[in-house]
């Protein structure tokens, strides 16, 4: 309760401070992507508008060029066997678009020599066999020009062949028109882009509203309330709500089991401590040395039991904690067996029977947490010492169908059949064994569960074995 209250106030302060950079809101990400996409689209359209504007301007003014060229061509005659051109002044008016452009012209005789005009006004590179007016771009003294060529065949006694008239002017009007067309298009496109963006932001906010509802629902909840949310949400968000509900369910179960465990543990510790105190009280008042010895032995036996219970409770808490937090690594079960056996040997009394290690030649690889596995194996060994009969054997290898396993063998009868069914329940102990705390197998079971391994027992050739069978190493199910 206290923890979740703290969590609540903590989340409150975090929620109001600036969020870390990489956790930008979905709305922000969407807005940025939208902006980028719209900018690209707008840019592309503007480029298209510009090239369209240029083409349109060229088409419009090329007509004028062709008209001027035609006017000049009309005044090309052959007089007394000589080609003469009386260029009309009005052609220059037309060509200069009312004086706005600088103009250039050239009349080329069939032989290729210039009759009049600008000698360095170039012919088009390739007319592709066209004989009609042909517009092209060129330049004169570094000034970009638009030119037009018209051709007239002369068939006189003295002159035969094509006369070409080339007219050209500067691009000012074309640029202005193209710019005007582009500017208007750009204004419309930019306005449309902006409008789309603004609308998109509204749509975005509308679409994000269910998420805001979830947020509000979580924030307004009482901290102790871990029941699932019941709310109408769109499909995409309902998955999120489902995940939250699932997580809350797990949290609820964990909190419950923890509370149960704490209650159980308190109860389990209180009983032996009370018994111990009673025994010591008896011992204080006992004068008879024989009976005192008996009492002494009982106290010791109780203390051992209590020690073991405490160890197991701590071990269990540790294993439970690791199951939540540790990441699994690749490890060799043979190494787990060796280390578990050594630690077991160091922590037990001298008269404890020796454990025989039975390891395979090849590494027995599984994915797991070696600390938890060692704890589990040590518990199995302890159980074997307490309940079974020596000699003991610790086996790490593979089962008949190739599954990695680790097992403890003893020569006892094993556990009763009904007890086997309840394996793993906490504080479920054999009533005949006072020293047992009933936690050992619970730890083993928990470790097995969190490794995805199964806990199994076997009776064979007068030996009882209990251990883990892991899933196939390649089927990594962490």
């Amino acid at each position: 309760m206290a923890i979740s209250d703290g969590g609540r106030s903590l989340s409150g302060t975090v929620g109001h401070s600036a969020p870390p950079l990489r956790q930008q809101s979905v709305a922000f990400r969407l807005a940025v992507s939208l902006f980028v996409v719209l900018s690209l689209a707008t840019g592309a359209t503007i480029f298209a508008a510009y090239s369209y504007g240029r083409t349109a301007a060229d088409e419009a003014f090329d007509e004028v060029l062709a008209g001027a060229a035609g006017m000049i061509m009309e005044r090309v005659f052959v007089v007394d066997g000589e080609t003469v051109a009386d260029v009309p002044t009005s052609a220059f008016d037309l060509l200069s678009l009312g004086g706005r452009e600088r103009v250039f012209y050239r009349i080329v005789l069939p032989g290729g020599q210039t009759l009049t005009g600008y000698d360095d006004l170039t012919l088009p590179p390739d007319r592709e066999g066209q004989s009609g007016p042909f517009g092209y771009s060129t330049s004169l003294a570094g000034v970009p020009l638009r030119a037009m060529i018209v051709t007239k065949p002369l068939a006189e006694r003295s002159v035969t062949g094509n006369v070409n008239v080339i007219v050209a002017h500067t691009r000012n009007s074309r640029n202005i028109l193209a710019r005007e067309i582009t500017t208007r298009a750009v204004a419309v496109i930019a306005a449309a882009g902006l409008a789309i963006f603004v609308l998109a932001i509204f749509v975005l906010r509308y679409a994000m509203r269910p998420l805001e509802r979830v947020e509000a629902a979580i924030l307004t909840r009482r901290s102790s309330d871990l029941s699932p949310f019941a709310m109408d949400a769109p499909r995409e968000v309902s998955a999120l709500v489902g995940a939250i509900n699932h997580f809350m369910g797990r949290l609820d179960r964990r909190v419950n089991s923890m509370q149960a465990f704490v209650a159980d543990a308190a109860h389990q510790l209180r009983t032996p401590i009370t018994a111990l105190l009673a025994q010591t009280d008896l011992a204080l008042n006992e004068r008879d040395t024989e009976r005192l010895k008996v009492l002494h032995r009982r106290i010791r036996s109780r203390a051992i039991g209590l020690n073991r219970l405490t160890n197991q409770l701590l071990s269990h808490a540790l294993v439970t904690h690791r199951a939540d937090s540790e990441t699994l690594t690749e490890l060799d079960l043979r190494r787990v067996a060796i280390e578990a056996e050594r630690e077991f040997r160091l922590t037990t009394e001298r008269e404890t029977p020796a454990v025989m290690l039975d390891l395979e030649e090849e590494p027995v690889l599984v994915t797991g947490d070696s600390f938890s596995l060692k704890e589990a194996v040590k518990n199995l060994l302890n159980n074997a010492v307490s309940h079974g009969k020596p000699p003991l054997r610790l086996h790490a290898g593979h089962t008949g169908n190739g599954l990695p396993d680790i097992r403890v063998f003893d020569c006892g009868d094993g556990m009763s059949a009904e007890y086997e069914d309840t394996i793993g329940r906490r504080f479920q102990r054999d009533a005949s064994k006072t020293e047992s705390a009933g936690l050992g197998l619970a730890i083993v079971k928990e470790v097995a569960d969190f490794h995805g391994a199964s806990l199994y027992t076997q009776r064979q050739d007068g030996m009882f074995s209990i251990g883990f069978r892991f899933p196939k190493p390649d089927g990594k199910t962490a």
Binding site: D86, V87, S96, R102
Partner: protein, 359 residues
């Protein structure tokens, strides 16, 4: 002492004849002489002097070189300078406006950096490079003594009739030699474009053995002393300035149409002192500059020209019809007059008409 020297230096204008055609006059700076401006022009120095003096008053630190040339020489020099990229002058002023338009068209001119006033008419500017500075009608001058009965031709129809009916103008009519004068050619070309009287007029001129001269002054001189009775297509500015001093001369502004020419100025692309050149152009179209141009030289200006000219002529009792003014617009259409084939055809026709004996 020092100051006195400077003032003395300022007064002296050094005139040097550099070539057979070009005449160079240097105006020493009144101030520190930190800048220099080279003007290449066809205008007589005496005509443009009032404007220049006003300009120098405004910019006393400028040393101004005034290079006076014949119009064709000026055109060739400007064209060569444009082709080679050599600096030639900071401003080119010429009455041969077709050539000026061609130089601008061919990319030899820089853009103006000063804004022209809104009163400056569109016809007297082109491409933000070429600016008309003056407003000079083409007039008919006549010897008053040659017309005792007052039958002075007021338009081209009268002139054609006069030249056709009598022999009294045999060898006594003068006009520009259009082969030697850009202005003369320009006026003739405009005449041909403006009206159908041109052919008959040419015929009349030829029959009366017209005398040809390279400049307006040459014609006016001869009209003044009676060697000529009529001078056709003479620059009105020279005629008016001259008439004020010499009452023997009469002036007619043809009432059918009066061609008006504006001397055009542009700043070459490779000008060394474009700032000063822009300042001169700005000054010439300013109210002060326009007043100076309308002064003793009677050059007038495109902006204020028609109004000031009307007032001036009314004062002097000269008939004038402002409706008949036909300014030659700066436009690429003037390029047609420079087309070498068209020019050849035009000159052939001209020669055939004015020299009928040569055939």
């Amino acid at each position: 002492m020092n100051r006195a020297c400077r003032m003395l230096a300022a007064i002296i204008a050094v005139t040097v004849a550099t070539t057979a055609q070009a005449q160079e006059t240097v105006f020493r700076a009144k101030g520190n002489g930190s800048g220099s401006l080279v003007i290449a022009s066809v205008t007589d120095l005496v005509a443009i002097r009032p404007l220049l003096d006003g300009f120098l008053e405004r910019f006393p630190d400028l040393e101004v070189t005034y290079r006076q040339m014949q119009s064709l020489e000026l055109y060739r020099a400007a064209k060569d300078a444009c082709g080679s990229g050599e600096p030639f002058a900071d401003i080119v002023i010429s009455s041969a406006i077709a050539e000026q338009v061609k130089l601008v068209n061919d990319g030899c001119a820089a853009q103006l950096t000063v804004a022209l006033p809104s009163t400056h008419p569109q016809w007297a500017q082109w491409q933000n490079s070429l600016v008309g500075m003056t407003f000079e009608p083409a007039v008919i001058v006549y010897d008053r003594e040659a017309f005792p009965s007052g039958d002075v031709p007021q338009n081209r129809f009268d002139l054609v009739d006069l030249l056709r009916q009598t022999e009294r103008f045999e060898g006594k009519v003068g006009t520009y030699d259009i082969e030697r004068s850009g202005v003369g050619y320009m006026f003739a070309f405009q005449d041909e474009y403006q009206a159908s009287t041109w052919g008959r007029l040419l015929e009349g001129l030829g029959r009366n053995r017209v005398k040809l001269f390279p400049s307006s002054s040459d014609i006016i001189d001869r009209v003044a002393d009676g060697r000529l009775a009529i001078g056709y297509n003479v620059l009105g500015s020279y005629a008016m300035a001259r008439q004020e001093a010499d009452p023997r001369i009469g002036i007619v502004f043809p009432e059918d149409y009066t061609i008006v020419l504006s001397r055009a100025a542009f700043i070459p692309e490779n000008a060394l002192n474009a700032v000063a050149a822009n300042a001169l152009i700005e000054f010439s179209v300013s109210p002060e500059g326009q007043k100076l141009l309308a002064g003793s030289a009677r050059l007038f200006s495109p902006g204020a020209g028609p109004g000031l000219l009307s007032a001036y002529l009314r004062e002097r009792g000269i008939a004038f019809n402002a409706e008949a003014l036909r300014p030659i617009a700066f436009s690429p259409r003037l390029l047609a007059s420079l087309d070498r084939v068209k020019l050849r055809i035009f000159l052939e026709q001209w020669n055939k008409s004015v020299n009928p004996d040569a055939q």
